[in-house]
Amino acid sequence: MTRFAVTRAIEGLIVLLVMSFVVYGLIGLMPGDPIDLMIASNPKLTSADAQRLRALYGLDRPILERYLNWLTAALQGDFGYSRAFARPVLELIGPRLVNTLVLMVASLTVALIVGLAAGLYAALHPRSLIDDLIGYLSFISISTPTFWLALLLMMLFSVVLGVLPASGMPVGADTGLGERLRHLILPVATLSLASAGGYTRYMRAAMIETLGQDFIRTARAKGASEMRVVLRHGLRNALIPVITVIALDFGALFSGALITETMFAYPGMGKAIYDAIMANDFNLALVTLLFATLTTLVGNFAADLGYAWLDPRISLAAGRAGT
């Protein structure tokens, strides 16, 4: 187990290092720089000023030199300064991380409860009317663009019915817990509805396949109750492929809500990535994207641990499935 964890940690560090270079290089390859944005909004900015500012912000230096400078500082704990928000990057992403965590944990929880329950029910009643209905709703959920869904919910509940706020975070005089929860409803609903369909389909397929296995028949033959067969034997095994999907979604915890956060003006990590890229803010973009990479790696690691817990036949020590 320890060996497995150390190996994965070393692999993760290598991936992060490569990713940092790739992301920095890709951002650097994009034409234009922040000074171009300044020129566009200030008719009085002279060409001499533009050149001076490029030198001041180090934008006139080769991309490799800039990257190595960043990496050296990052290894010493200085992840740089966000030019778009005039703050140290780490100071900036702290509150956003918390906001995203709140949003994503809530929406993932709702999506899992809805998706797994619906998938389970559909698997236990295959080809029934309810199964068909769940199937249709799942496909609607999977194929509806998040942007459109967010707008639809906003128009319905905020504009037409006027029962919920159209933004994800209160900014008025009342910013208490109740008001914060009320503002979270629509973003959470958007994210949950967008991902519940996928979980439903995975759960249904995995459960139907599991319920057809020999060991299920054996369990029934041994006189186990149907509840025990489904939950203890069926669900536990069906969850293995589903966990892979959830683990992959784990990376999206910190970056995947980009559209939803932007639509609901919710100050989270997804919106930070959007803002950073739009403003050509190297340091912020790099750190936020690396964070998304890190969470994906952690998610995969957690999935590996989950497999071992759910299925004792899977051995982590050897780094491969045992028999």
Binding site: P31, D33, P43, D49, Q51, R96, L164, G172, A265, P267
Partner: protein, 572 residues
């Protein structure tokens, strides 16, 4: 029974949520403004962003600015210096500060290069920072010190560089010595005061100032502001709250609290406005023109929508290094072949007027006495014939060597309005035998590389923003053509080289006499309309969407924001 209980619970929850929603009638003492961009910093001198100006102008004031009638006025000062009132005095420059004329001269005027000017200003006697510290000449001297230091990160050093000395008379009066004489000498709009009592310590290490400025590290410090409001909450990327500043010396503002919240997506911005989550969408940074037009049709009974034409000049830059476009007759044919009036009427319902030159018709120096190009396909055809382009078998003109009259037209991909204008122009120009190939690029590529490095082969459609009576040095003077040699500095992207234009620019900058200056402006506009380095299209209008109860917001049409007069905003 069980189902009924569930239904009752759902209805009760709905009612509870509904009752918690703030009603429109509530909170008229508060104003929530939505806009699409968040300011990178609140420091008045670092970064030049419309978003920052919009917020900061509620809490800070420049010495001078242009009012809604486009007249220069004092805001923080008491009286504008003029030669007539004796507060402005011409002085001889020392030999080491005299700059040689940049152009050879064609006899239009004799640009003055050996004179400077002294300007005396008095700060508003009651002006006080929000922490009770008076605004004094100490702040003026400190701001100048920061402004002229190239390491400080100040965006626009031009004005600070021109000031060679500041003499302090007392705590409120000072005299600036400026080494460049220009007609707009009294306007020190870019001299934006910093509080010396707070910022001096942060400037101890100039290279670190842009990271240590209290405007970023402690933006809610009341001592940073002296306007009608001061910032009380600053959440990066989300919102900024402002409350009345007790030390403000002017008229008491109506709203007790103003919240500016940022919603980048304009569809979401609209939903927030309709739901009452925000009260007003900033015209400076809100809806796109077409969105506002559609909004007006749907919700015009609930909101007032004003389209204010301004200084954003949409045009097509023509690459004058292109041998076909180097021929003036071809450029003029493009103008005669385009029905710009139809574009203005049919696409913009006449709300974005046709541009005939780079000077806005709202500017006092605008003139009608210039060549104009009404839609005349016959004239366009005659000019192209004369230039050697005859109608080919498929209707597209060809020259004697069989080369087709084809141009590439580029603009920012995804900008619906520009893409629509492109398609209309393509169709109109095809009727006079000109083939247009549309090739659009993302804005970042288009502005960051294609235009900046003059990589477009023929036509580039975009907009210039200027200011009232803005001398077009950066866009028309031959010394401002971007090249690899000058690291693509300058904004004369067409490559326009004209000795008379250079001379007129130099002359306008130093002509004090308004009538003589007006005559020079007429000449350069006429020259522009004759030479046509660009295809002028239209002046963009900013759409302002107000709730019917909000009064006193007066769109300016220039780059200085409406919030400079926030104390006049009221709820009806």
């Amino acid at each position: 029974m069980r189902r009924l209980s569930i239904l009752v619970a759902l209805v009760a929850t709905g009612l509870m949520l509904a009752s918690a929603t703030p009603s429109l009638a509530q909170g008229k003492e508060d104003l929530v403004i939505g806009m699409s961009q968040f300011p990178a910093t609140m420091n008045p001198n670092i970064e030049a962003m419309a978003a920052k100006s919009f917020v900061l102008d509620m809490a800070h004031r420049p010495f001078t600015t242009f009012d809604t009638k486009w007249q220069l006025i004092c805001m923080l000062c008491v009286e504008l210096p003029t030669v007539e009132n004796g507060l402005a005095k011409l002085v001889d420059l020392p030999a080491d500060q005299i700059q040689a004329p940049k152009t050879a001269g064609t006899g239009v005027c004799t640009p003055v290069h050996d004179k400077g000017i002294t300007l005396t200003y008095t700060i508003q006697p009651q002006a006080t920072w929000g922490d009770g510290t008076p605004v004094t000449t100490d702040d003026v001297l400190f701001t100048w010190q920061v402004g002229q230091d190239e390491r400080s990160g100040v965006t626009n050093l031009e004005l600070y560089r021109r000031i060679t000395k500041i003499d302090v008379k007392d705590k409120k009066t000072f005299t600036m010595h400026v080494n460049k004489l220009t007609f707009d000498y009294a306007g020190i709009n870019d001299f934006l005061l910093l509080p010396a009592h707070i910022e001096r310590a942060n400037f101890a290490e100039p290279t670190e100032y842009k990271r240590r400025t209290a405007y970023d590290t402690d933006p809610t410090n009341p001592g940073l502001y002296f306007g009608p409001y001061r910032v009380t909450q600053f959440v990066p990327g989300s919102h900024i709250a402002l409350e009345q500043n007790p030390t403000w010396w002017g008229a008491k503002p109506h709203f007790k609290r103003i919240v500016v919240r940022v919603i980048e997506n304009t569809a979401a911005l609209e939903a927030n406005l309709l739901s009452g989550s925000i009260d007003y969408v900033a015209g400076e940074l809100g809806f796109q023109f077409d969105e506002a037009l559609a909004f007006q049709k749907r919700f015009g009974s609930r909101f007032d929508v004003i389209f204010k034409p301004g200084l954003v000049y949409e045009h097509i830059d023509l690459n004058l290094d292109n041998p076909i476009l180097a021929d003036k007759r071809v450029r003029q044919a493009l103008l005669f072949g385009a029905d710009r009036e139809a574009i203005s009427q049919q696409l913009f319902e006449g709300k974005q007027p046709v541009a005939h030159s780079f000077v806005s018709p709202l500017d006092w120096v605008a003139t009608d006495d210039i060549p104009r190009y009404a839609h005349d396909p016959a004239k366009a055809g005659a000019l192209l014939d004369a230039a050697g382009w005859k109608a080919g078998p498929d209707g597209i003109r060809v020259n004697a060597t069989g080369e087709r009259l084809t141009f590439e037209l580029m603009t920012t991909a995804g900008n619906r309005t520009r893409e629509l204008v492109e398609q209309v122009l393509q169709s109109q120009w095809r009727k006079v035998g000109i083939d247009i190939r549309i090739k659009n690029e993302p804005a970042r590529v288009f502005f960051g590389q294609t235009v900046r490095e003059r990589k477009y082969s023929a036509m580039a459609m975009f907009a210039w923003i200027s200011s009232p009576e803005n001398v077009p040095r950066s866009t028309l003077h031959s010394s401002e053509i971007p090249t690899a040699a000058n690291n693509f500095a300058g904004q004369n992207d067409t490559g326009f080289k004209n000795a008379l234009a250079d001379e007129l620019i130099d002359c306008i900058e130093v002509e004090f006499n308004r009538e003589k200056r007006r005559a020079l402006w007429q000449r350069i506009q006429a020259l522009y309309a004759e030479e046509l380095p660009v295809v002028p299209l239209y002046y963009r209008a900013d759409p302002f969407v107000f709730p019917k109860w909000l009064t006193g917001v007066e769109p300016t049409g220039h780059q200085y924001s409406t919030t400079l007069w926030i104390e006049n905003w009221k709820a009806r």
